[in-house]
Symmetry: C2
């Protein structure tokens, strides 16, 4: 039973025991309730022990998500906060060509945070891990003024086969593994920025893209099926588009010191999006919306052609110039130099 | 030059350009200023690549520190926040018998946080890493309502040689690598809880113990020098005393399902502490103060005897009972059962 309340109530008011806060539970009971979400036999020491397979390198990435900055109760239920936080980290592993081993979870919570919120957060995290691989191997828990979720993911990649940002050369095809703009469209629907039937198939897909994104390990597996026997190993580069497609193109260009000619009409948009928000906004969200977690790859043209037979699209070519230029169509002579316009924290 | 201020000023008012906030800098300039603190060639991709040596296992640990909970401007300058945060994580690696490879840093900052604070934080982190090993291999940066430092450390340990909590058996000697209570004494001095000359050698040592603690890799090296040729490999257990000596003894007892007879008079106290705060308070801080980051090891008696010839002390013995019992002295028949009394977040 819940003890008397000492702070303002928050969170859902339905379901079993919604009034129970983590202050009611206390730290030790909270830790006991979180243990079943963690890998058995790994948690319980000062640190977690994991094995990186022989011939593999370790890959490490970290993300911090904060209530009011990266999520809010208005747009993101706790399950989706957890799912998305893990998916974002796993996407960074996928972008390196790696497979997941495990994650640690650093959690800052308010005393009045409902246990239901914490439980749903962990359900979301473990649901994502169950789908794509990896387990929760450790964590830390403390009081904070904002809900804070700091996740570090570790994975492994075959030695020498990590996909880097700085290894593109002129003459490669620029490939995206899917459409961009759906996550931003989902957010817009949830915020009421656009009118739309949230129950339409397209709208539900956009909301899903925002709340439970897909780290593209399937695309990495597809790539490996094409290159595992390749001699010499193909020249390539890549990253994920978590901060927007434009940002990914500009980062790859800068890291590899290559230019790009990107054909605007070849960039896949989410079906139906232009009809709802107009083609200019749809294209703006595709370039700058962010959080689509697709992969942006620079591949040899023959490999790219084989790759997009299964999924994704070739949107352009790397060049010897320094700039990323947008061409309205293949035939167009008009070029627009792409610039940064991504989310800034400060 | 600093742009006009939009929020209240915080932080130090002396030194070069103290008025410059991270909002003045902007996110990209801030990232550029942080790059020199990070490992060259490792940062810049979606994730960091590291090599775990052949025959070694991966060790992962994480800690979240929050302004107002784990540190404050009153007791902990930014350099010490960074140093202590890294030392706490490295201590978890040392407690597993591991050596550091690298850390990731997830940072939540207020827009009006002075650049000087962030710079000193990173100076503290890299100073600790330079002393004990490891590099900054990645991070994340975002806006938050409280300064938040989430660190994950990865290390490596020879396969099968990790020091666990659940492997103690009855009849082992319980060893501490040093005195307990100094960190709590340092905090008390900084908070003005106790009268004392902060410039005395003892007081400066306590403040140092609080602000720049020592992860005991030296004790692990000493242990390895004694056991590397041992056949069979000795039965042992251990952890660090970051949450207090009492907590460490109780955790080891519970995880290994052994009891302990601990001789109170054998627990080393910081020299001079009893004279300043009285023997009862000194002993209370030794048991429950926390953050001393010593190691608490259960070792075979002959190994323990050799170990403490260099440093540390034998404070008791593991037993077949379930309880951790305090004996005032070796001859005493009076026993006090030790209980949890550590810092609780909720």
């Amino acid at each position: 039973m819940a003890a008397p309340k000492q702070g303002p109530k928050q969170g859902p008011e339905e379901g079993p025991d919604p009034s129970l806060t983590i202050a009611d539970l206390g730290e030790l009971a909270l830790i006991e309730r979180l243990k079943p979400f963690c890998a058995e036999g790994v948690v319980g020491d000062d640190a977690a022990l994991l094995v990186v397979a022989s011939g593999y390198e370790l890959v490490v990435t970290t993300d911090v998500l904060i209530d009011g900055v990266h999520f809010s109760d208005r747009t993101t239920p706790a399950f989706a906060v957890g799912y998305r936080a893990v998916a974002a980290n796993l996407s960074d592993l996928a972008a390196m060509g790696a497979e997941p081993l495990g994650i640690t979870v650093g959690l800052g919570l308010l005393a009045q945070t409902p246990w239901q919120w914490v439980e749903a957060l962990y359900q979301g995290m473990t649901a994502c891990l169950a789908t794509y691989g990896g387990v929760i191997v450790g964590g830390d828990l403390c009081r904070a003024a904002q809900k804070t979720v700091a996740i570090t993911a570790v994975g492994q990649v075959r030695a020498g086969q990590a996909i880097r940002r700085d290894t593109a050369v002129p003459g490669l095809s620029v490939v995206v593994t899917g459409a961009h703009g759906a996550s931003r469209a989902g957010l817009a629907l949830l915020l009421g920025e656009v009118e739309g039937d949230q129950r339409s198939a397209a709208a539900m897909g956009w909301i899903k893209a925002h709340q439970t994104p897909v780290p593209r390990f399937d695309a990495i597996a597809q790539l490996h099926s094409l290159i595992d026997t390749a001699v010499p190993y193909p020249t390539m580069a890549g990253m994920d588009s978590s901060d927007g497609l434009a940002n990914a193109l500009l980062q790859l260009s800068r890291s590899s010191q290559v230019g790009m000619d990107i054909v605007r009409s070849h960039i896949p948009l989410p079906p139906g999006l232009s009809a709802v928000v107009g083609p200019e906004t749809a294209f703006d969200w595709a370039l700058y919306g962010g959080e689509d977690f697709e992969l942006v790859l620079c591949l040899p043209p023959d490999l790219a052609a084989k790759f997009v037979q299964v999924s994704g699209a070739i949107i352009g070519t790397t060049t010897g110039t320094g700039a990323v230029q947008l061409l309205p169509s293949v035939e167009s002579r008009r070029r627009i130099t792409l610039t940064h316009q991504s989310f800034k924290h400060f």
